[in-house]
């Protein structure tokens, strides 16, 4: 690094790595958004991906997103599996022609020299049965390790994606473990502070222990079934309004989806019932997608208009 280069984040800390990714992608024209403030199973559920993938308006954003996967909880005892972990999500719509190169640039920003590391794109076709969404792309391998899911969205909520949204979902704990060369996620250095290093374990270990116990042992099954039904009903009601409210309706989809995941962790849903619950969530997601598309149309696709004005000026 030359003396007059701008101060760089310390990528050997968890927060420094996130800041580096945010900085890199903001320079590529992405707004730095914040995580969605509800429980979601993956970054894709953030409105910034699921809803912005719908319709003709352009969208470029990045953000971290906590993913909740109740069945993956291991009471803080497994060094690689967590019921709460982060993804770093990048969405670009329309997907730029050099998106692969931009992605590789982000690895370079994390000091991965492509002439030293083996970077490969291995076919991985993504589908979310609950969101009625699918796309084609890859899992990106770094020396054999899957570090990012890279997807070109083809359908979302049952609607064709046109233009296509390109999505990158980095598994940031994994990347950080690689960069910091630690064997356990809990040993990751989150940040160096005047009082010494704070680790991922300091921040989240107790949470993993308690949430695993809650997910597997204490989540109230009857209440969750009830909650699922209530969310479904609320979502339907909001979509049936004269002027539907797709955004609040969508939050009920997220809530129902999380209730379903908890019920799954409690082994409360049989194999045959499982399909039926997934279908119920998908039906809601589809309704939201259609209502959202209509609402943006009613607004005259403001981002599209602005995009065109700027392009012509």
């Amino acid at each position: 690094m030359t003396a007059d280069a701008p101060a760089r984040q310390d990528i050997r800390t968890f927060q420094g790595m996130i800041a580096t990714l945010q900085d890199y992608w903001s320079k590529q024209g992405c707004i730095v958004q914040q995580p969605y403030d509800m429980e979601v199973g993956a970054g894709t559920f953030h409105t910034s991906t699921f809803l912005r993938a719908i319709g003709p308006e352009p969208w470029h954003a990045c953000h971290t997103q906590a993913s909740r996967r109740p069945t993956d909880g291991r009471y803080g005892e497994n060094p690689n599996r967590l019921q709460h972990y982060y993804q770093f999500q990048v969405v670009m719509k329309p997907s730029p022609p050099d998106m692969q190169a931009l992605f590789l640039g982000s690895l370079a920003a994390l000091d991965f020299d492509p002439l030293e590391h083996d970077v490969r794109f291995v076919e991985d076709n993504w589908e979310s049965p609950t969101l009625g969404a699918w796309g084609l792309g890859w899992e990106v391998w770094l020396n054999g390790m899957e570090v990012t899911q890279y997807t070109y969205f083809q359908q979302c909520g049952g609607l064709e994606c046109k233009p296509v949204l390109g999505e990158l979902a980095y598994g940031i704990e994994r990347l950080a473990m690689y960069i910091q060369n630690v064997e356990s996620v809990y040993d990751l250095v989150w940040a160096h502070t005047p009082n010494g290093p704070i680790t991922y374990g300091d921040v989240f270990h107790q949470n993993e222990v308690e949430q695993s116990a809650y997910n597997f042992e204490h989540a109230d099954v009857d209440e969750l079934f009830h909650h699922f039904d209530a969310c479904e009903k609320a979502c339907q009601t909001l979509l049936e309004l004269d002027t539907p409210l797709p955004l609040p309706a969508y939050e009920h989809v997220l809530s129902a989806s999380h209730a379903f995941n908890l019920l799954d962790a409690r082994h409360a849903i049989s194999v045959t019932e499982r399909q039926r619950y997934i279908l119920r969530v998908r039906t809601l997601a589809r309704g939201v997608a259609e209502a959202y598309a209509a609402s943006r149309e009613r607004l005259g696709h403001p981002l599209l208009r602005r995009h065109r004005t700027e392009a012509s000026s």
């Binding site: 076919e123 084609l136 020396n143 083809q154 233009p163 390109g166």
Partner: protein
């Protein structure tokens, strides 16, 4: 003059399974299209190139220009073209106009409709470039693609986003548009080793340019060979033998443009896990090659194929070792857990897993297998105690975490677990081999206990699914009944097991009554299974008429069916067989027309010598055939029939069956009926006559 044409479509990384098929399809369709456009000077084979980032084809001896062609277009008959005053009719004027010439410029030709107006003109040939502009987009669009995608904001759809199009003819770049791209002479080298655009100055130098300047091996098969060589060399260094499945070599070749093999190691402690689990983890999850030592045991090492000549190969090695460690640790965790529980203790939890809604749980299936195994072992004299024990344990490993995480380990996990508990090898092997043969070409179960269980498992599934009326339709076969039926047949035939399928399915149907009030439809599995014999034998190159001839005898014991098929096949090599088959067919037709009831033959009613001779021959042959049938010696039985050929031919030459004397006629029909019966004992020989 002709030169080489190179067409290369650059893509973002293609799915591994499509890399080679797409390029061979492009090679064959492009050269076929050039051929039919008369743009191929000589008929030479194209070369296909395929990497994850490109499909390309090089076609030698392509013409730059289609030849001009003289063409004639015919119009109305001359008689209809001019009026009585010699003035052209509207039809004639319209034709001239459509040809773009004056009426005076038209010729006349005579065809079978008489003399017609005609326009002869020169069709100018297209240049190669113009032809490609028209043809290439369609050729690319018609390539075989499992699933197309769109990208950015265009309408183009392909397997993955496309990045460049390079078209060079001799030393000239051609400009063609396809999928939103415009071609030029620029290819690309390896994504990291040669990132700049790479000019192809000579079509003939395409492959060498990529190799020397681009750091890319464009030929798929060359990369496969390279991978094999490199893996073998590293394995030699490590003192092991690589497990080198073709499918894995090809997948790796489809994932890299520049294969560089790198060896890594893992902790010895993981070797306590069955090697099948470890190999599957390495192959399926990481595309690693496993290594075996001289005793065939797994070594704690792997070889990966990277896509980079790394500045620091150690980084790549360590990275891969980091990845495989938690995966193997997961496998070991599950295995260690499973090893702490006796396999048999899972029997009761089988009650919680549904096999099929109407057919009950895995526990119900287990009970049926115990029962059916008892029947089979009784029939073929297998050890009752061991077969029952194997049947009782057969599905227990489905409850283990190892099989839950690695479904392909079903059976294998059971074998290891029960073996570690000190169980006999016969029972342990049966747990694995109940699923054999897993696919075409696989070995069938080889111990008798395993055979009993393999037979019972397949028969129960077939009988059960047929009993509930869910037989396979079209391509839908969710329970794998085709494979089960063929596996059942192969086990019985190839292991020479004397078991009748009719009795087996009847016993299976009987057992199903524990779950079903009415299991009679289970017997539909019998004709379904027997029908699979056709493909079983035709796949071995045995003529389908032979199979049909044996089918006609309603044989339900596969091993018996097999003896007959082979006896008929060798009978067909006898000189007498054709004539005998033809005579039999004739005999059958006569009987069919006569509608007569079979009756005994009365030798006193014979009037002709040939009649007498045939009667005698049938009688003596009958004796021989019966003796051979008694010992299932079908070869000899059919050979005895050969002696009938001469008297049969003589009979048809000299004897009129349909005489006016009803008694004599009936007696002759009875004689033919005897002949026909005799010729249908081993197989229906009339089926052999073509």
């Amino acid at each position: 003059m002709s030169k080489t044409l190179i067409v290369e479509l650059g893509c973002e990384e293609l799915p591994a399974g499509s890399v080679k098929p797409m390029s061979t399809a492009l090679a064959s369709t492009l050269s076929a299209a050039l051929q039919s456009a008369k743009l191929l000077a000589v008929d030479t084979a194209p070369t296909a190139y395929a990497t994850p980032r490109r499909i390309a084809v090089s076609v030698p001896a392509v013409a730059a220009q289609q030849a001009d062609q003289t063409q004639t277009r015919t119009g109305p008959a001359v008689s209809a073209a001019f009026g009585e005053d010699g003035a052209p009719t509207p039809a004639a004027l319209g034709f001239a106009r459509s040809c773009g010439v004056d009426i005076e410029a038209l010729d006349r030709v005579t065809d079978k409709g008489g003399e017609r107006l005609a326009h002869t003109f020169t069709q100018h040939g297209q240049s190669l470039e113009d032809w490609l502009k028209d043809a290439l987009p369609g050729l690319i669009d018609n390539l075989p693609m499992p699933k197309r995608m769109r990208w950015a904001d265009g309408d183009a759809a392909f397997l993955r986003p496309v990045q460049w199009l390079c078209v060079v003819y001799g030393d000239t770049p051609l400009r063609v548009d396809a999928l939103g791209l415009s071609s030029d002479e620029h290819s690309r080298g390896h994504r990291f080793h040669a990132p700049a655009a790479l000019a192809i100055s000579q079509a003939d130098a395409y492959a060498d340019t990529l190799r020397e300047q681009g750091h890319v091996e464009p030929e798929f098969d060359c990369r496969c060979d390279d991978i094999r060589t490199q893996v073998q060399a590293l394995a030699d260094e490590l003192g092991g033998t690589p497990v080198l499945p073709d499918a894995l070599v090809e997948e790796c070749a489809a994932l890299v443009e520049k294969p560089v093999a790198i060896a890594g190691r893992f902790d010895d402690a993981f070797l306590s896990v069955p090697k099948e689990v470890l190999i599957q983890t390495m192959q399926d999850d990481q595309r690693y090659f496993a290594l075996l030592d001289s005793r065939g045991e797994l070594m704690p090492a792997f070889i990966t194929i990277s896509n980079i000549a790394s500045r620091n190969p150690e980084t790549v090695r360590q990275g891969n070792e980091r990845v495989i460690r938690p995966r193997l640790a997961d496998a070991k965790f599950f295995w260690d857990q499973d090893s702490q529980t006796p396999l048999g203790s899972h029997v009761s939890s089988l009650k919680s897993v549904v096999f099929q809604k109407q057919l009950g749980t895995l526990h119900d299936k287990t009970e049926r297998l115990v029962r059916l195994s008892r029947f089979v072992s009784g029939e073929i004299e297998a050890d009752q105690v061991l077969t029952e024990r194997a049947a009782r344990l057969s599905k227990c490993d489905l409850m283990t975490q190892t099989v839950y995480e690695f479904p392909a380990m079903q059976g294998i996990a059971g074998r290891y677990l029960i073996h570690n508990e000190g169980e006999s090898a016969a029972v342990a092997d049966a747990l694995e081999q109940q699923y054999h043969p897993k696919q075409a070409g696989d070995e069938t179960a080889d111990g008798i206990i395993a055979q009993v269980l393999a037979i019972a498992d397949k028969a129960d599934t077939l009988a059960g699914i047929f009993a509930i009326g869910q037989k396979p339709t079209g391509a839908k076969d969710p329970f794998g009944l085709r494979r089960a039926a063929l596996g059942l047949l192969r086990t019985l035939i190839e292991r020479r097991i004397e078991l009748d399928l009719a009795e087996l399915f009847a016993a299976a149907a009987d057992g199903l009554r524990a779950q079903l009030d009415d299991s009679t439809r289970a017997m539909d599995a019998l004709p379904y299974t027997l029908e699979r014999l056709r493909s079983y034998y035709t796949d071995q190159g045995i003529d389908s008429v032979i199979v049909d001839a044996v089918m006609a005898c309603n044989i339900t014991k596969p091993i018996d069916f097999d003896r007959r098929v082979h006896a008929v096949a060798s009978f067909l090599t006898l000189p007498e067989s054709d004539a005998l088959a033809a005579a039999n067919k004739r005999c059958r037709n006569i009987l069919k027309k006569s509608n007569s009831q079979p009756s005994d033959v009365d030798p006193s009613l014979f009037t002709e010598a040939a009649e007498q001779a045939l009667g005698d021959a049938i009688e003596s042959t009958r004796g021989q055939v019966d003796a051979h049938l008694a010992s299932s010696d079908y070869n000899s039985a059919l050979q005895s029939l050969a002696a009938l050929r001469e008297p049969v031919d003589s009979f048809f030459d000299h004897v009129m069956v349909n005489t006016d004397d009803d008694t004599v006629r009936a007696n002759r029909l009875a004689l033919l009926a005897q002949l026909s019966t005799l010729c249908s004992e081993v197989a229906d020989l009339s089926e052999l006559s073509r």
